[in-house]
């Protein structure tokens, strides 16, 4: 079970403009990824682009697995043009993943934009514990995987910037209001989040204010994915920590924004 493996593409479909879901069949048995783990994907056999691209596990399908990605630049653009049957070279699963021993009574999941990619994996695993899933996106169109989330019985609370689905505005504000309503029981919640930096910053403030415990998945440019290049650090209360090794999931109170 090597963490360096080849996988053939079963499907690589566009969900909405610039957003793709790729289903991969590893050509050998691989280690089962935890939610929050990620893979370093070589988007081509050529040396262009040079570095692998980090992408989170989105869904594990009994040996096969899915990644949900957005075309952000040249690497993901090349990936989006790959066809079923094409072979990708992949490294992973990598990183620490979300902690799965959760003692709190309630679980709050917050996904912003593409943050739904890893949060889906976590939600699926935690669904028996009835987590409250908050999901924000720019528009209704960019709310991905809603049907699948509903199928899991997760029934997300939604906000969009333009109000085209759910509440209009910021998902953190929605969560804020809910917390205000149930303030007494808030300390018995565990918060997990992934999304754009401004969202995570706002959540951190909220968590601090209410003494809410939790974890967030962060991003940083990466070269090795293995902890050797020291390229992917983020500032924490313990000094610089590697997103690929000590992360990508960090306790909220340790993150220094």
């Amino acid at each position: 079970m090597s963490r360096l493996f080849k996988a053939s593409i079963i499907e690589n479909i566009q969900l909405v403009k610039n957003h793709y879901l790729i289903t991969l069949h590893p050509l050998e048995k691989i280690k089962k990824p935890k939610p929050g783990n990620f893979f370093m994907v070589a988007v081509d056999h050529n040396l262009y682009p040079l570095l692998r691209r980090p992408i989170s596990i989105h869904r594990w399908l009994n040996g096969d697995f899915q990644l949900l990605y957005r075309v952000a630049g040249k690497g993901t653009s090349i990936l989006s043009r790959k066809k079923p049957g094409d072979i990708l070279e992949i490294l992973g699963p990598l990183g620490n993943g979300f902690p799965l021993k959760i003692n709190s009574a309630h679980i709050i999941l917050v996904a912003g934009g593409l943050g739904v990619a890893p949060m889906f994996a976590l939600a699926e695993l935690l669904k028996k514990r009835n987590p409250a899933l908050y999901y924000g996106a720019r528009t209704k169109k960019e709310l991905l995987r809603i049907d699948e989330l509903n199928a899991l019985g997760l029934d997300p609370i939604i906000a969009t910037d333009d109000g085209s689905s759910g509440e209009k505005g910021n998902i953190v504000n929605v969560l804020k209001r809910h917390i205000a309503r149930h303030l007494s029981s808030i300390s018995d919640n565990m918060l997990f989040a992934c999304g754009p930096e401004p969202m995570l910053k706002a959540l951190s403030l909220l968590a601090e204010k209410h003494g809410l415990q939790g974890y967030m998945a962060l991003e940083q440019h990466m070269a090795c994915g293995l902890g050797t290049c020291l390229g992917c650090v983020v500032k924490t209360t313990k000094g610089y920590r590697r997103v690929c090794k000590e992360g990508p999931v960090f306790p909220i109170e340790e993150i220094v924004w």
Binding site: R3, A42, L47, L51, R52, H221, A223, C224, K235, Y240
Partner: protein, 308 residues
Amino acid sequence: MADKKSINLTVMIGKLKLKNPVMTASGTFGYGDEYAEFIDLNRLGAIVVKGLSLKPKEGNPPPRIVETPSGMLNAIGLQNIGINNFIRNKLPFLRTVKTPVIVNFFGDSIAEYVRAAEKLSEADGVHALEMNISCPNKQAGWSIFGTDPHVTSKVVSAVRKATEKTLIVKLSPNVTDIGLMARVAEDAGADAVSLINTLTGMAIDIKTRRPRLANIIGGLSGPAVKPVAVRMVWQCYQAVRIPVIGMGGIVSPEDAIEFILAGASAVAVGTGNFIRPDITMDVLNGITAFMKTEGIKSINDIKGGVQC
């Protein structure tokens, strides 16, 4: 055709004998342990670890990495766990590997270089020292040790006196005359020179109008720099008698052989490890295969063998 058994891959770097010329480049292979999962570390010619200083260093703020065409810029800022920590927590594992360990180190003053060299020389399991002179010099307005021949000469001489271990001086390519810098290192007592370290570069995000690296400038590595590296290795090979260790953009056995033909006694794979963590084994296997097909008995037979 030479058969596999009769192929001689061993090379000498100072007093150090390597079973083959394929090393790792400092800063791209951590302290070796992370790669044990992907390759048999025992098969490497040498493991060169991330650059160490007396005290642990925090390094630069992120972002520290940017991709560039066929290359990458890094500004790690020499983050490291410090020599003591290395000796205590990393060397024990490395001692279990049957591959020489070369410790890359630096300081921000000559005194620090000397103390670092002394400390490392006493440690069990350190087979050679590689001094990184592309490092800012506190006493000289933070200019780099490795770009002024006088400063280079001073710091190398001082370290030479401080250690009996094989001493490799890692040259900065950001100089007008690399051959001169190699000669300066040789004259100051180096047992070998290694090159190239990264070329200084910069990238700007035109949307934010900010440098893509928090440190503004960083070091360029990867296939993009290979032509410059091969040229410099060739120039150093002609300039000095001590062995030259070649690196800069090696991602295939062909690349490695190119450096050896240019004059490298051994080669190091850097950025390539990020592309494929088992790349060193491909390079090694490919060198052996090439020697077999070409009927080359000893790797030393083709060292500097480019016909100009």
